[in-house]
């Protein structure tokens, strides 16, 4: 099969998004957006609701077809590829709204991630050919590893439908890892999580990057997390790119403040960036939109500041 990436040691290629435009009946969700994800870096994509972040993800993963523009991953052109071909290139993603099979066990959900790396078709599986069996054994081994890595080891046989929200989010990440991606797209990985789980997820993401050295494209409204994890930040607003660069610079950008952070947010997020130690990191990690709330809610500011 052509255009299939078989995992090897090598570093991931560059992802280059060049003035991508996406139009839907009546509205332009993305308007000439462009940015570059350096190999092995964590690149954050932020912006107000409806700015086009998920749309961008959908273009990258082949769910939507860009109206114009190009997306190159190494020397492969992604625009126009169907999702499964994109996956074949080693690009995996998680979803903003959990998209797992509730009736399947965690193991099976993860095994689905191995789809592109396995071959067994109807015949092989139906006849239980040795090839299929061996394959299954090998890959379920790896799935177990990844599950353990994501702290799901003892949940492998539990139907996803019975898991709490936070755990499901981790299953999603694990499933994406099972694709053995070179580029990982994470759409709001910690949305709706509580403090502990936020930290846990953040830890996971860092660990992934450290141990696999893959590129990560991250959409997140949790500024603290973004500040801490991202090497580069691209800010979208109404489908346009309004800023890009290292987190510190971006968050001081008045445009960004106006469109996204809101006045008061800057300082606290700033603390985080200036790395007033793990304190702030864990704090923001735990209770995200606080940054936003501070602007309006008296009494919280103190609560936050006193940290």
């Amino acid at each position: 099969m052509t255009g299939t990436y078989q995992p090897d040691g090598t570093a991931p290629p560059v992802l280059e998004v060049r003035d991508v435009t996406v139009r839907f009946a009546g509205l332009t969700a993305l308007d000439g957006v462009g940015f570059t994800v350096e190999p092995g870096s964590v690149h954050a994509l932020i912006g107000p609701n409806g700015a086009g972040k998920s749309t961008c993800f959908n273009v990258l993963s082949g769910v939507y077809r860009a109206t114009s523009g190009s997306v190159r991953f190494g020397d492969a052109e992604l625009t126009g590829l169907p999702p499964h071909r994109v996956a074949a290139l080693g690009i995996a993603r998680t979803f903003q709204n959990i998209a797992l099979s509730p009736h399947l066990s965690v193991r099976d959900n993860l095994m689905l991630g191995r789809h592109r790396l396995t071959r067994a078709g109807f015949v092989a599986a139906g006849l239980r050919l040795p090839s299929a069996r061996g394959e299954a054994a090998r890959h379920s081994g790896r799935v177990a590893e990844i599950a353990a890595f994501a702290g799901l080891a003892d949940l492998l046989d539990c139907p996803v439908g019975l898991l709490p929200y936070g755990v499901r989010k981790r299953v999603e990440l694990a499933r994406a890892l099972c694709v053995e991606p070179r580029l990982l797209l994470l759409d709001e990985p910690v949305a709706g999580m509580n403090g502990g789980e936020r930290r846990d997820m953040a830890g996971l993401i860092v660990a992934v990057r450290e141990s696999l050295g893959i590129s990560i494209l991250l959409v997140e409204h949790d500024m603290g997390m973004v500040m801490r994890l991202a090497d580069t930040v691209t800010v979208l607003d109404f489908g346009r790119r309004i800023a890009t660069g290292p987190p510190e610079r971006v968050q001081d950008d008045p445009e960004v403040v106006r469109a996204y952070l809101g006045a008061a947010a800057r300082d606290s997020a700033g603390d985080a960036a200036r790395g007033t130690a793990r304190e702030a990191a864990r704090e923001t990690g735990r209770d995200r939109p606080r940054d936003g709330a501070t602007g309006t809610a008296p009494g919280v500011a103190s609560g936050g500041e006193s940290a």
């Binding site: 993963s61 082949g62 769910v63 169907p82 999702p83 499964h84 994109v86 996956a87 074949a88 995996a92 993603r93 979803f95 709204n97 959990i98 998209a99 797992l100 099979s101 509730p102 009736h103 399947l104 066990s105 965690v106 193991r107 099976d108 095994m111 689905l112 991630g113 191995r114 789809h115 592109r116 396995t118 067994a120 078709g121 109807f122 092989a124 599986a125 139906g126 006849l127 239980r128 299929a132 394959e135 299954a136 492998l156 046989d157 539990c158 139907p159 996803v160 439908g161 019975l162 499933r175 694709v179």
Partner: protein, 379 residues
């Protein structure tokens, strides 16, 4: 754990033994009815792959049965008069017939690949009417309204027919007795294959397509191709069922391959339990045996009256019962007969059984309490 395994093995062996003993003790009625049930079971397994596991409704199953049955006859019989035929060796004809059904499925798979759920269901209704039209009009191949005689299968010189006579353990072995064993073999094979598919890589892909199409695609599953593939596979199952059916009938009857047949198949997989192989078999046996039994034992049954004396006739009673069964199963037996079985089995055991077993559950099974299965945003 190990005890349950042993138990299952023993029950399995008992079942097999019983199945083998049948022809020696039961008369033609049972064998005939049994054969119809077996062929139905094969077809139901196929439909379950499509509807149960992949979430695609199909009302066109009868069409593919017809393709299988008629293809076998056409390939297998010598041309005579205006009736064509290839006169191939019957085993070859049987294999080709199944392939033919597959091809038919393949040709139509664009429909199967493009349409979803209930829309596909109604769309496939077209196949029934189209099929009937062809069966009645393409006389040289189908024999038109007359249907055609089915050449008996002949494996390595052994004919599945009444002649040459054969007596085993002082029991005369006619076509039915011989076909019985053929049916068993075919059914077992079909069931094992389907189980392998469901529990393997394709099964996972199919289930995910059912639960979250886009996610499946993003995880590397070529969704349209898979839908088409399953459609094709299920039509091959139908084709196989058709061949078996033809052999059991010993003649093809165009009227038979109508919409009611397709509806019956849907009823089978629901009663049996969506997505489960064992369920499909159970459902098939239930649906195809019930009317036969009621008809035969009408005299003995209290609620039904003798034909001709007015009141509820056996045939009507059968249909009522089977309609009620469909409703009752969905209302009171989520997961169908199979669900019931596995619940009773799991009763003692811990709640979470191996995922492979879990996958057999249809979305209508009890553990679908998660928002995914209900909220439109994610499904």
């Amino acid at each position: 754990m190990s005890r349950t395994v042993i138990l299952r093995i023993l029950t399995g062996l008992a079942a097999v033994a019983a199945a083998f003993a049948v022809p020696f003790y039961l008369d033609g009625f049972w064998l005939q009815a049994g054969l119809f049930a077996m062929s139905a079971a094969v077809g139901a397994i196929g439909l379950n792959l499509l509807t149960g596991a992949t979430g695609q409704l199909s009302l066109g199953h009868a069409f593919f049965l017809a393709v299988g049955a008629y293809a076998y006859v056409y390939f297998g019989s010598e041309p005579e008069g205006e009736l064509g035929g290839l006169g191939l060796p019957t085993p070859a004809a049987a294999v080709l017939a199944v392939l033919a059904a597959g091809v038919a499925g393949g040709l139509l798979s664009p429909i199967g690949g493009r349409l979803k759920g209930q829309y596909l269901g109604i769309a496939t209704l077209a196949l029934i009417f189209f099929g009937q039209h062809v069966l009645f009009n393409a006389t040289p191949v189908t024999g038109g309204y007359n249907g055609r005689a089915v050449p008996p299968l002949e494996l390595f010189g052994f004919a599945f027919a009444d002649s040459p006579g054969l007596v085993v353990l002082r029991v005369p072995f006619g076509a039915l007795e011989r076909l019985w064993f053929l049916g068993l073999a075919v059914l077992a094979g079909a069931a094992l294959f389907a189980r392998g598919v469901l529990r393997g890589r394709p099964g996972r892909a199919m289930n995910t397509i059912r639960d979250h199409e886009i996610a499946a695609g993003v995880m590397g599953v070529p969704v349209a191709r898979y839908r088409a593939g399953v459609f094709l596979l299920s039509s091959m199952y139908a084709g196989l069922a058709g061949v078996l059916l033809a052999l059991a009938f010993q003649r093809t009857v165009p009227e038979y391959f109508g919409m009611l047949l397709s509806l019956d198949y849907l009823a089978m997989i629901v009663i049996g339990g969506l997505g489960s192989v064992a369920g499909a078999v159970a459902g098939a046996v239930f649906v195809s045996l019930l009317p036969q039994l009621l008809t035969r034992y009408s005299d003995a049954l209290p609620l039904v009256s003798d034909p001709g004396t007015g009141g509820l006739s056996p045939a009507e009673a059968a249909r009522l019962l089977y309609g009620v069964a469909v409703v009752a199963v969905v209302l009171f037996l989520p997961g169908g007969l199979a669900g019931l079985a596995s619940r009773t089995r799991a009763a003692g055991r811990r709640w979470f059984s191996p995922g492979s077993a879990r996958r057999r559950f249809s979305p209508s099974s009890p553990e679908t309490t998660s928002p995914e299965s209900t909220s439109p945003e994610t499904t």
